[in-house]
């Protein structure tokens, strides 16, 4: 048992290496429990393939024309849906008591959450890659070209990171992982469906049009469309970035406050 007592502690882990260690942990979890990737794989396939062939003929006269309209929307939908994992993972750690061990360590306190987000980046990229790959195979030909598509993916990743802090806040407030999923579904379902993801709001009744126009998801989808078509303005992109910054400014400190004060 002498080996157990190695004596001195090494110098403390830096903020970066602590965050990377937690990022490694999330990747390990994906490797050990690959089922948890089911949503990140199924949602993009389902949304892209199903909606294109379901609505394409009726809404736009042809599936390929509809696909060019729909794809930026399914990209937004799927990636936003996957962001809930940040809150889900945190809540699982909380309910299992793993959080207590980490919180008592002499490390940069946000490292667990930041590291978790690094792991989530893998999920977001997987989902985004599937949507775009499937789209291209089905005839998606954006005017914005490769650059436009890459910019669109970059922007949705930035927004997804920012939105994750909303779910980490909820993850610390709610009692169980199930309730985190439930609340996120209740918030995301109306926001993604009552938007311009599927159709142009011009034919909607006035009250719904007003909602769709005010819906932040609509603005995000419009910007993604514009980027992929090569028509985006700096103002549009800037608007999304400001919204993303605002989410982080409010929810990152709230998450950390709750994290430190957890009874």
């Amino acid at each position: 048992m002498t080996v157990v007592l190695s004596g001195a502690r090494p110098p403390r882990a830096s903020a970066v290496s602590a965050s990377l260690a937690f990022g490694w942990r999330s990747l390990l979890k994906i490797r050990h429990v690959p089922e948890q990737l089911a949503d990140a794989i199924l949602a993009p396939v389902l949304f892209t393939v199903l909606f294109t062939y379901l609505f394409g003929g009726a809404f736009a006269g042809s599936t390929s024309r509809y696909l060019n309209f729909l794809l930026p929307g399914t990209l937004v939908m799927t990636v936003l849906l996957v962001t809930v994992y940040s809150g889900l993972a945190l809540n699982t750690d909380l309910t299992r008591g793993v959080l207590n061990r980490f919180r008592a360590l002499p490390i940069w306190q946000p490292a667990l959450i930041v590291g978790g987000l690094l792991g989530d980046a893998g999920r977001y990229l997987l989902s985004a890659g599937l949507v775009i790959g499937l789209g291209l195979a089905m005839g998606f030909r954006p005017d914005g070209g490769v650059v436009g598509v890459l910019l669109a993916v970059a922007l949705i990743l930035v927004f997804a990171f920012s939105l994750s802090w909303v779910w980490t806040t909820l993850g610390l407030l709610l009692r169980s992982p199930q309730s985190v999923t439930m609340v996120s579904f209740l918030v995301q379902f109306p926001l993604t469906f009552a938007s311009n993801v599927f159709v142009d709001p011009a034919t909607m009744p006035g009250w719904l049009q007003a909602f769709v126009d005010a819906n932040p998801v609509s603005h995000l989808v419009s910007t993604e469309r514009a980027l992929m078509q090569g028509t985006a303005s700096a103002g549009q992109v800037g608007g999304v970035l400001v919204a993303a910054a605002a989410l982080v400014a409010v929810f990152a400190p709230t998450t950390m406050y709750l994290y430190r004060r957890k009874p």
Binding site: V4, P10, R25
Partner: protein
């Protein structure tokens, strides 16, 4: 010398419940200090405050001279904790849990892996190193948990009910480990509901009930505070018990306890000499004694006397 732990008037309330209610303890550096109490006495909440996981509502606590609220980070740098409430990650393997812990404590990658391997070997987990912790038995989990808290040296180790649910052999192993650690100069704060565990390990014990310390001292002091000793007598002929009871009551001037064994009775005695005198009196009265014993009261008896309640889960 700065004490390892010092709390003054510590209070923590959850809704209507005062989990910790004016707790004062001073834990010297070195050795094992036991917090003994029934479920819900406030032991775990106290450890959570001392490990910087929970802020107290009132009072103050210092660990190794650092305030647990204002200097939480300094405290975290010198303590380690293990227990039911700080668990390990079931979705990772035992080895990954230990490597992660080592990386978070600042070990470079290669040294982290080496340290994990050493600990796995020391805790007899090498064969299970690559299996997910969720497939482990209770005893194996407890060993990984302990190993994780020993990845880097700590001046103070919090052990929250470290042997609850373990079989007697694993229990003995944990006890040996605690003794080894203490031998190396680590101070251990141990919470337990097992009286024999506190008796075996602790140099000093605080008995806690309803969030307060109701008694404090060495195991010996606690026992003698209840009464210096008990004389147990077993008679050869049970029919002589009423006579024996009369003789003992007369000599010892105290209430005599009749045991469920029809030939046995016991009485509290202040000193050994008086016990011997009582035995002689029995002999003079023609009462034959089959066996006798003079011993200190057990911690069970101490606990009963202090709290007025029996230990539900006591071993």
């Amino acid at each position: 010398m700065t004490p390892a732990i010092e709390t003054v008037g510590l209070v923590k309330t959850y809704g209507q419940t005062r989990a910790v209610d004016g707790l004062d303890i001073t834990v010297p550096v070195g050795g094992v200090y036991g917090l003994l109490g029934p479920n819900g006495a406030g032991k775990t909440t106290t450890i959570r405050i001392l490990a910087t996981l929970v802020r107290p509502d009132a009072g103050r606590a210092a660990v190794l001279g650092h305030d647990v609220v204002r200097e939480a980070d300094a405290v975290r740098g010198r303590v380690s904790l293990t227990g039911q409430f700080a668990s390990i990650d079931e979705d990772l393997t035992g080895e990954e849990n230990l490597v992660l812990q080592a990386r978070l404590l600042g070990f470079p990658r290669r040294r982290a892996r080496r340290r994990a391997a050493e600990l796995l070997a020391a805790f007899d987990l090498t064969d299970a190193a690559g299996r997910l912790v969720k497939t482990y038995s209770g005893g194996m989990r407890r060993r990984v948990d302990l190993a994780a808290s020993l990845v880097a040296g700590a001046d103070l180790l919090f052990l929250d009910e470290p042997t609850t649910g373990l079989d007697p052999r694993s229990r003995g192993e944990v006890w040996d480990l605690v003794r080894t650690l203490v031998g190396q100069g680590t101070t251990v704060l141990l919470t337990t509901q097992y009286l024999d565990e506190a008796d075996q390990l602790a140099d000093r014990i605080a008995v806690i009930d309803h969030g307060r310390v109701i008694a404090e001292g060495t195991p010996g002091e606690l026992k003698s505070s209840v009464g210096s000793g008990v004389l147990h007598v077993r008679l050869l002929r049970p029919e002589q018990r009423p006579e024996a009871e009369r003789v003992l009551a007369e000599v010892l001037d105290t209430r005599i306890q009749l045991d469920s064994d029809e030939a046995a009775l016991s009485a509290r005695v202040d000193d050994v000499e008086r016990g011997a005198y009582a035995l002689a009196a029995l002999s003079r009265a023609g009462i034959e004694v089959a066996a006798f014993g003079l011993g200190q009261p057990s911690l069970d008896e101490v606990f009963l006397a202090l709290t007025g309640q029996t230990q539900e889960v006591a071993a």
